[in-house]
Symmetry: D2
Subunit: 366 residues, 4 copies
């Protein structure tokens, strides 16, 4: 059904926004991997609401409590379970939504899917909070990959109509990756970043929200991993990326821009550099025929604006079948994109680690 | 690995471009479904090369030979196997590519992945020919869905910089669907279609190729199907769509355009129409929280230009590690988009039928 | 890997004997199912050590703490997570076993599998304690099935050389099922039960342990569920039954006794009773061609004796590669069979509910 | 559904007894593996009916026709498809069974499962013929394992009440394996073998059939492969073994005999031999905690007597719901056990290769 993913790694996520806890079971990780706990917590902290003008006022400590599978911060090889208590819950905010659907939210579809029995408090199982356990799992995968020379970086490529610089061969440097990995508003162009933040502050004051795009790169993954057809790298990654709430588009390399190109523009010419096969450009995002080329795997995710806005909207009471209006008063992010950066990186880390572990070519590329 | 897909339905595809045959095993289809054979063949014919200016000169009859699971054109409920012989093969064209990589093709990654043991003739397992069995499977699913009031239509939304009209509430009519379903170059705007065909003819004469976009709609699927997180309708569809060669982007509803919107623009207001809950707009593409709303499921696929072009290109011999150039002389489509329309529709049909069949809400919505 | 099971239902189990907690995520259960909490706890209590002469002195309260997916004891349809704290742990007992392997236990294979990084305290992830979350999940499935007229009963068919009466058409009555379902030492023949208990007490006093067999029946499951080949009812059930520690054999109907029969003895003649197709005998255990016949599904599980015994045994230090002897002093059950009865019933309940839910014939047979 | 199996390897089988062909798609095999074609055909020949007194008079050439994935008898790494035509079909024999159920056959359950739409000719998808493609797939796996020092041998351990010698440390020699692997009636005790054949000839003359048991051993598999809980070696093997028609029991090591032992008898003492950890006995069949010990993996399969017998039997017409009698006149094996030996070996080969390939410890133990 909804909560299990993976070929070799199996991730199982549970929880509702206001249930006792949310959490994750991660199975299939190799044994003997040392986890840097501070780094893991810092990675999770990047997803956590910082309050202020950009994020929801609901602040949770979001400290994962290890239940199993880690001993002295070293993986046992058995399932790792981490539990994150739900602390700061205000359930009274949500009683209305069992009948009146917030536009573009899952109130109505959830009621249909579960015949009205789902827990609607705080968005229930559809809440963005469910990405916290995914980031925990991704944080583990990320460190295991990093030890083998694979690093992952993402930046906020777009907020509304404001664009960051794209990844290029020049700016995909170890230094730049390090800066992005330690930034709470990761952009390549600092000025664009400031404009984006101003725009988010503005839409919040207008009782509105705004969408955006994240671009992510995986560096150091060797060529020859992946499969044609149903287990293409694109298929594996997209199935996980589209499980992130609010993602409505995924593209690889130059993505939709390839539709307007001719082949002689779009094709990536091969070269030999330092005795290795490389491509001069990377319009295919490091993937050909579903298989890695050895160039960085680059992809984009489109995020729609946060559905919950304070502005009055037209909607219906789907129980009484009457039209009505709604101004949402709960605590919400005016823009989810900043907090989604480590979520996208986590999906990438999990998909790439799973890709290596399920290969017969040997996963341990250290 | 690469050739099996599905939750309830299982599709297993085999074959190389120049192997004895290509084919598919489809398991999990319900028993007792009458298949209209002429309609199935017509659907497959839409994918077949028609030669001429738009398609590859390699013409195959592509008639599926049923091996099992169908008796008097009625599904037995057991696995259906269909075999498509490879007839028109010219293997001498390909011997070069075991060393010299066609840019943006899978020659190099295939050699890495399979340690040089893969069958490279005609692109081998990476050939676009492998979509023929997928269209056979999709043709079955499509008829089973259609009997239950679910229909699927796609059009060529973009070729290069020429755009067709998009789907709207107005043009998504039974008549329009029927026209698209019977067209060999399906567009909503006939004039755009003519310009597109002229552009394809032009790039061919320039020894080049061109990319494009397909937009697809699934009508009649009721609300409440799908799941949050890993089995979202988006995740299920995208994993199959990204297995189609040359697809580099997938988006739902307004897709990447949502990145530049504010919430009050992007949200779809709910209304009551004829006693039913509907949305006034459909920017979310009929999916909220990973679950169908009952509105049409609408999505887009970005296709890169055909990698094989006759123009000379810079590349490498990846065995000797030397740079070289290459002008490809095999038989190729200047634009794959036209023939990909039934492939995209097939992926949609299979994903939607699998979605229904794996639901505990009952699949048989007839 | 090791911790996820299911076609439609997904069960993910975590935990080690001495970790913070053990637990389970159960996904794919239908929404709106009322759970009788007292009945669930009573079912789990049947697995719990009662101390005394028959069970281990390690007593745990084993109360499941619901984390998600249940609201007012009604299933939400989303993943249900239950956590069971480990309370009564004595880790000092186990330090030896990282080098000296207990014969027939998983100390040695666990060290190989996980390169020595697994948590060995209390048997770690291999502990019989891990069946507690399985019984929680099975307890949910059991109630959902019972509401639809499907009931499950098991009895201790054999301890050492003492045999209980087998299930027959006569004793498979609602009354008898009810008695078995409420018994802490469930047998059909009370005298055999007393002899079994005396034998267990005796082997304990001899610092030894003893094996046994459980026979289980599923009543009320309609005909026509299951599949030929890889998803036969036997395949589905056995894959789950063989995940129970200490199970070394599984058989259906007359099982291994069928090897010595001729066809005219072994075949179950069909009859019409009350207008329904039945079989006069049930040597095939209610399954033909991998599919249910409508007769009770009957199967047996062989349990080896508890590996940990107080008697001195010959073994090795697998790190220093030296032979040595070992007398195990931890707390162990002299016979695991009594406590395994609800575990076997749980596996049956989960497999049968999964069978119904993954069928295209409709699962809701109420 | 029914026709796909595997974690890393994916096997998809199609076909009915009288359909155009039967066959298999095997995906996930490593590339570059040389297949000895004569050895493969000889292995398949051991499953084929030899006519005479012991086997069915229906003789098929059963020559696999490679469709894809093998080039010059070397695996490409892509899906291997093999097709076996159905040649010797006599469909008139079977028309009756759409209404009158052969006792202990799948006529009735198949009709329920597929609402009467399944192909009943020759037993359709339930026919023992479907094991031919499994043996093809197993024949590939077997050679890939053999190259890495893993060999598989099985013998007919029991026919009716006649028992062969069991496997022991003494008779599990390379010579003995070679003899068994080249025998059409593989037994360890030649005299028992002759008695078994006489017994089969006798039951045939009595218009009856007879059951039996196969014991199988996998040698050379290193310790540390497999998983606790749901992916135990026992779970993986049994799920495949129970997909073989007529198998009603599976046990490992001493199996059901362990039920009557005490721990001090049943436990396998560890020893050091040639610097390696071994066990003195192998009552656990080479598996502890679901993980291989490095000792031979030994298991047993119980086969019921062939359901189809010429003797008159009591049965029903399940359409008209009337009782009747039936004497089956088609062509059938009086005992399926001899021909099932390579089927059991194939299941073992596939499960063990899948076990290695899905391990993160490295599969390539050569």
């Amino acid at each position: 059904m909804s909560s299990t993913w993976g070929n070799h790694i199996k991730i199982s996520i549970w929880g509702e926004s206001h249930s006792e806890s949310i959490g994750v079971v991660v199975d299939g990780l190799p044994s003997g991997e040392q986890i840097d706990w501070d780094e893991l917590l810092f990675f999770m902290e990047r997803r956590r609401s910082q309050g202020g003008a950009l994020d929801t006022p609901r602040k949770e400590s979001d400290l994962p409590q290890i239940q199993s599978g880690l001993l002295n911060h070293i993986t046992c090889g058995t399932p790792i379970c981490a539990l994150i208590p739900n602390e700061n819950t205000r359930s009274k905010d949500y009683s209305l939504f069992s009948q009146v659907a917030r536009p573009s939210h899952a109130d109505y579809t959830g009621a249909l899917r579960y015949n009205g029995y789902n827990d609607i408090r705080g968005g229930g199982h559809f809440s963005g909070r469910l990405t916290a356990p995914l980031v925990f799992a991704g944080g583990l995968a990320r460190q295991i990959l990093h030890r083998r020379g694979i690093s992952i970086a993402a930046h906020i490529a777009q907020i509304g109509t404001i664009w960051d610089d794209p990844f290029t061969a020049e700016n995909l440097t170890p230094q730049q990756i390090d800066v992005l990995n330690h930034s709470f508003f990761p952009v390549l162009n600092a000025q664009a970043g400031e404009q984006m933040q101003a725009r988010i502050t503005q839409v919040r004051s207008q009782k509105d929200s705004i969408g955006g795009m994240i671009q992510c790169a995986v560096l150091g993954i060797p060529g020859g991993y992946g499969d044609p057809l149903f287990d293409s790298v694109e298929s594996r990654l997209s199935s996980l990326l589209f499980s992130i709430p609010a993602v409505k588009g995924v593209s690889f390399g130059d993505g939709f821009a390839l539709c307007s190109m001719v082949g002689s523009e779009a094709n990536d010419p091969f070269s030999i550099r330092d005795g290795k096969v490389v491509t001069d450009t990377n319009r295919n995002g490091g993937i050909l025929g579903g298989i890695t080329t050895g160039m960085p795997v680059v992809f984009q995710c489109a995020f729609k604006p946060t559905a919950s806005i304070a502005k009055e909207q037209k909607t219906v009471n789907f129980v009484t079948k009457e039209e009505t209006t709604l101004a949402i008063t709960g605590r919400h992010d005016p823009c989810i994109v900043r907090r989604a950066v480590p979520v996208v990186e986590s999906a990438a880390a999990l998909a790439v680690l799973d890709l290596l572990l399920s290969s017969d070519r040997g996963w341990n590329i250290r």
